[in-house]
């Protein structure tokens, strides 16, 4: 059986306490909320924090409020997020993303904040200690080379969070709290296109809440490519949120790709191409071509990179057609294996 290494476990009851503990542990501590990302990483010795600061008992992280928009505590489980979004309205992309994370069991403990901070993934990195030793390790942990592209100066591990593309399309902001200060930033600014330093969050900061603005007139969705309808991380995903004018033309648009870089990728050209247009098949086709351009999948996930790149436009098409109001339930069944 794979075993965790020894660690010190701390269980603060408030965000304040947690921030103080993080500040005091000087880089040796990691946060654990649901644990579904950090614990496997620790068992594989990819992450070996001396201290775990558990957020389970921090009640303030588990609240969801509807004010001017939606405020979701980072400690809410994905199951809770899904069940609170039974009638998701403009937030359909978030519901679709959350409901497709991993498995029902994992969604029952995995949190929204945890999914946003999910460690980047790579077939050379998400391996046991013994396996990584057999390739003399990689840049992201214990080694020097990025085996995905050996001349790459930076790590190419893949952003594999489902909810980040969705929340980016929904123009979310996040709150980060440290012992010194609290700051609110656009979710887009949380991410960097670097497999190692993929977050701008400081090690002493806690992601406490996600705010999504009120999105009158918006419709959104999320599509995910993976081999199986369960368990698998995305190897390509598309979140789309569109605002429609009363005449049915597109007033504003956000199309975000997931799992094709070390951060979720916004596709401004594709989005711009839709503004002022009606969502005709031609407009969708044009936007899909444009959206697929920045996708740079690498050979470090499931499926071949050429194919993942090739089908990006199809997945954008699925998303835009669904936002237009097409019945895509059969596609959902055969591609996403979503039954209910």
């Amino acid at each position: 059986m794979m075993r965790l290494p020894y660690f010190r476990y701390l269980a603060p009851r408030t965000v304040h306490e947690a921030a103080d503990l993080l500040a005091a542990s000087a880089g040796d501590a990691m946060l654990v909320a649901g644990g579904t990302d950090v614990l496997p990483n620790m068992k594989r010795r990819q992450q070996v924090p001396g201290t775990l600061v558990g957020l389970r008992q921090v009640a303030e992280l588990k609240q969801m409020t509807n004010g001017d928009g939606l405020r979701i505590g980072a400690g809410m489980t994905l199951t809770e997020v899904v069940s609170r979004l039974k009638i998701p309205g403009p937030y359909a992309a978030l519901r679709q993303a959350a409901v497709q994370v991993a498995t029902p069991h994992i969604r029952n403990v995995g949190t929204l904040g945890g999914n946003l901070c999910l460690d980047t993934r790579c077939n050379y990195y998400d391996q046991n200690y013994e396996w990584r030793k057999a390739i003399n390790f990689c840049m992201k942990k214990d080694g020097k080379t990025c085996w995905v592209a050996t001349s790459s100066p930076k790590c190419l591990a893949v952003s594999s969070t489902d909810t980040a593309p969705a929340l980016l399309a929904l123009q979310a902001t996040v709150t980060l709290v440290s012992a010194e200060k609290t700051r609110q930033i656009a979710l887009a600014d949380l991410y960097r296109n670097d497999g190692i330093h993929y977050l701008t969050r400081q090690p002493t900061e806690i992601l406490t809440a996600i705010d999504v603005p009120r999105l009158g007139g918006w419709r959104s969705t999320y599509w995910k490519l993976r081999r199986r309808g369960s368990f698998d991380f995305p190897v390509l995903s598309v979140a789309a949120a569109l605002k429609f004018a009363p005449d049915g033309s597109v007033e504003d648009a956000r199309i975000v790709l997931g799992a094709v870089a070390s951060r979720p990728l916004e596709t401004p050209a594709a989005s711009a191409s839709l503004i002022g247009q009606r969502l005709t098949d031609e407009a969708i086709a044009r936007a899909s071509e444009l959206a697929a351009v920045p996708a740079r999948p690498m050979d470090n996930t499931d499926f071949t990179l050429a194919w993942r790149k090739r089908v990006a436009r199809d997945f954008v098409t699925y998303a835009l057609r669904e936002v237009r109001g097409d019945d895509v339930s059969k596609l959902r069944l055969s591609v996403a294996r979503q039954l209910v």
Partner: protein
């Protein structure tokens, strides 16, 4: 036993171990927790091919909590499942052959301590050239991965001709030549291999292990540790899935035995999932070429099959696997002239071996896809084509395999009707399609793994005055329901309830030998042994009751826990009274039964692989939906019919069939044992691409289509109550049926497994560009075949012997082995 007298057999029934399993009380090897138990971890090679220069264990030994560190020096004698391939050491003494090959073991107070100490063992390696593909191994004879085998890095190559195929092709109206590739894949049992070894209070060795073959493990331990076999007890715990992956004796089993003997404390090991991928013994990657001659009506004139198997780093069952790629084509369809050339090479990857279907799914895929192409060219419906060429019952095939009964015709008719084949095949809208394929499989290998004249299965019964019966047999419960077959057969014959019987199985001290749960042999062989033992017991009881009640023996009925007069059912005794009467008359009541297969097979070299007392047959139709833009493939429905002879417990048979379809769809669509070689200028590494359950894609509840199962019951005279196997055969037709369905859906041929969206899209792009609408290997490899052994088929006056004797390839034995064993071939 007469059809109309069966009370239990043939009726759906809760399996005898059902309650234990649903309450979580079934004890698997890792559930054994013993006082003073220590824990073992193995250090495995981090390099793919190297000489070991030096191992320093001193730092590990000094680590607090470590009790013992073992290395290759502690083991002198190699072992292996086949007598011809005794090429494994519990820990490699000098030569490592793949990333994952064990080199040292740490035994510590707990698993975490042992894991920590692994990193304190210093091993210095001298790298050797790494062979990552069969082509590389064929190209370079040096360095040799093993110092035995046919030559260079060829483990074994054969060439067999049953008649003159060139003449057969000349006589054909059309000759088809197709090359296929079948990727390797693995068993992925959810239970990771685990073993516990201990000295029993008498000082003898006990091993509890998740093994499908306790008898062979028993022999391997005796050999590797040079111990008296009578002082070794191997207990096969129920396996949490096996599928062939727990059929070899494994390093870890022998290491914990050694450690327990040295420390006189129980020692446990439970492998991680990654290590299970390194144990492997799964499906061989096979490159193959089928050349088939046919008449205009579809009749086959001759087949020439070439296969190249990527064996990985060790022998395992590989020689048998190689022969199996060529064995069963003739059992399915009538092939009057047949040539088979097979070659297995060593590479620096985890060893391949027997996975469900052992060696036959690969060439079954090739043959069934080629038949689909033939049917199209000849403008014959693929189902009709097969109906014309199915092998007939009571036939001796070109390669001397004896077909007794075959339900293949009925299987095909049933799935054609159930799937509405005639109105839907080639008529569905673009993007949807149906594909059909057939198969056959052994019901037990006709020969044992090591040469002997002994029974393949033994059953012992002890009848108690209480009316309870204990049934002892070496067979191993791996989920397939072998305990239920044992108990069901005995209960049927003695007229008692299955719950009155205690099954004691898979224990080399307590149970008579059964060779193990492999080659679909248990139901047929153990079942026949159980019936014989039970009939002998019934005879004793009938004698005593007949005397007591003065009823002729022939009129006595055993049913409802009673023994009574068929003509006056009120006149009789309870079963327990019958036992007491018999015990008073004859002494303690115990009987045995055993099963030895009839003498089967040709007497040519290689004729020992393929013979079976009887063969099962299956046919399947698969429906697919293919997205032409992405190549995405979705399987909504599968229809399968299986010739089971007789379903002893239909609930379990259906489970075997549907489980086979499931595993087949995994292989057909997504499962791959893939490897990654790093850029050679930077690294020697050759690693398993993703030794994890997450990245090795096993279909979930969401991928599994609806399966419509039909069981064809036509009792076979050689089967227990007429039963044949169900565990492996139903897997076989599914992969080619998927490929054939893809062709029906979008008009492209995927001559390769797995059939992924990427490959479909590539073939569609080729088609759009006016190129061959196909994805698959371009050509077969250049193999230095040995001279062909000529064996005339029965209809050319042959007697099963070769008429020439080609010179033997120069061979050296791996090492002088203390227990020299005859080569089974």
């Amino acid at each position: 036993m007469k059809e109309n007298t069966l009370r239990l057999i043939g009726k759906p029934r809760r399996r005898v171990d059902g309650r234990a399993k649903v309450t979580g009380q079934t004890k698997f090897a890792d559930d054994i927790m013993l006082p003073r138990m220590l824990h073992c971890k193995l250090l495995r090679s981090s390099v793919p091919h190297a000489r070991i220069v030096r191992i320093d264990t001193s730092r590990a030994l000094a680590h607090p909590g470590v009790h013992l560190v073992l290395t290759g020096k502690d083991f002198q004698v190699p072992y292996g499942i086949l007598p011809v391939s005794q090429d494994e050491y519990p820990l490699q003494p000098e030569h490592v052959r793949f990333v994952g090959d064990p080199v040292a073991a740490v035994i510590a107070r707990d698993e975490l301590t042992a894991f920590e100490a692994l990193d304190l063992i210093d091993v210095e390696y001298e790298p050797l050239r790494t062979f990552s593909t069969p082509e590389e191994s064929l190209e370079h004879e040096q360095p040799r991965i093993h110092d035995y085998g046919d030559r260079g890095n060829i483990h074994k190559a054969v060439s067999l001709a049953f008649g003159d195929v060139d003449k057969a092709f000349a006589a054909a109206d059309e000759v088809f030549e197709d090359t296929f590739f079948y990727q390797g894949n693995t068993h992925l049992p959810i239970e990771q291999h685990a073993s516990v070894a201990a000295k029993d209070p008498d000082g003898k060795l006990v091993l509890w292990s998740s093994t499908q073959t306790p008898h062979y493990v028993h022999r391997a331990i005796a050999r590797a540790l040079q111990m008296r076999p009578a002082h070794i007890r191997v207990v096969a715990m129920p396996n949490g899935g096996g599928f062939g992956g727990k059929s070899d004796p494994f390093h870890h089993e022998i290491v914990v035995c050694k450690a327990a003997l040295l420390l006189d404390r129980p020692v446990k090991i439970c492998l991680t999932r990654e290590e299970v991928f390194y144990c492997h013994r799964g499906r061989h990657p096979v490159l193959m070429q089928f050349k088939t001659g046919v008449k205009r009506d579809g009749t086959i004139t001759g087949v020439h099959l070439k296969t190249l198997l990527d064996g990985g780093a060790y022998g395992s069952y590989g020689v048998a696997s190689m022969f199996y790629t060529g064995a069963l084509q003739t059992v399915t369809y009538h092939i009057p002239t047949y040539k088979f050339q097979g070659c297995r090479v060593f590479t620096n990857k985890p060893p391949c071996g027997p996975k469900r279907g052992h060696g036959t799914p690969q060439s079954r895929f090739g043959q069934e896809v080629q038949l689909d192409k033939i049917a199209e060219k000849l403008a014959i419906d693929p189902a009709e084509l097969r109906l014309r060429i199915v092998e007939k019952p009571d036939t001796l095939t070109a390669n001397y395999l004896q077909v007794t009964t075959t339900g293949l015709t009925e299987c095909i008719r049933r799935i054609v009707a159930a799937s509405d084949w005639k109105t839907r095949f080639r008529k569905l809208p673009h993007g949807r399609g149906l594909g059909l394929a057939c198969s056959s499989y052994l019901s037990g290998a006709g020969l044992p793994i090591y040469f002997n004249d002994l029974p393949h299965s033994g059953v012992q019964l002890k009848l108690d005055r209480s009316g309870g019966v204990a049934a002892f047999c070496g067979a191993t419960e791996i989920g397939q329901g072998s305990d239920d077959v044992l108990v069901g057969c005995v209960a049927e014959v003695l007229g008692i309830d299955p719950l009155d019987i205690r099954a004691v199985t898979g224990d080399t001290d307590l149970t008579p030998v059964d060779l193990g749960s492999y080659s679909s042999r248990v139901t047929l062989m153990m079942g026949n042994a159980a019936i014989q033992a039970a009939e002998r017991a019934r005879e004793l009881l009938a004698d005593a009751v007949s005397r007591k009640l003065e009823i002729p023996k022939g009129r006595l009925v055993f049913a409802e826990r009673r023994v009574f007069d068929a003509e006056d059912p009120d006149k009789g005794v309870s079963f327990s009274e019958a036992v007491c009467l018999a015990e008073a008359a004859f002494g303690t009541i115990g009987t045995t039964g055993s099963y030895t297969p009839p003498k089967l097979g040709g007497r040519y070299k290689g004729g020992g692989v393929g013979p079976s007392p009887t063969y099962s047959y299956s046919a399947a139709v698969v429906e697919v939906e293919v997205d032409a833009s992405t190549g995405w493939i979705h399987v909504p429905r599968v229809w399968i019919a299986h010739d089971i002879g007789r379903a002893l417990n239909p609930t379990l048979v259906r489970g075997q069939v549907e489980g086979g379809v499931y595993m087949a769809l995994g292989e057909a669509l997504m499962e791959e044992q893939e490897f990654r070689r790093l850029p050679k200028r930077l690294s020697d590494a050759l690693v398993h691409k993703f030794p994890s359950i997450l990245e090795y894609k096993s279909p979930t509840t969401l991928e599994m289509p609806e399966v419509f199962t039909e069981l064809i019951e036509n009792p076979d005279p050689r089967g227990p109550f007429g039963a044949k196997e169900a565990g492996q055969g139903p897997l076989l037709p599914v992969m080619p049926a998927v490929a054939n369905a893809v062709y029906d859906a979008v008009g492209v041929r995927i001559d390769e497994v797995p059939i992924t969206p990427e490959k479909i899209l590539k073939a569609l792009e080729a088609k759009a560009a006016g190129k061959s609408p196909r994805y698959g290997p371009a050509k077969f490899a250049d193999v230095p075949w040995p001279e062909t052994l000529q064996v005339p088929p029965p209809w050319e006056g042959g007697d099963g012997k070769a008429i020439n004797s080609p010179p033997k390839a120069a061979k050296e034995p791996a090492r002088k082995s203390p227990a020299t064993e005859a080569v089974q071939s």
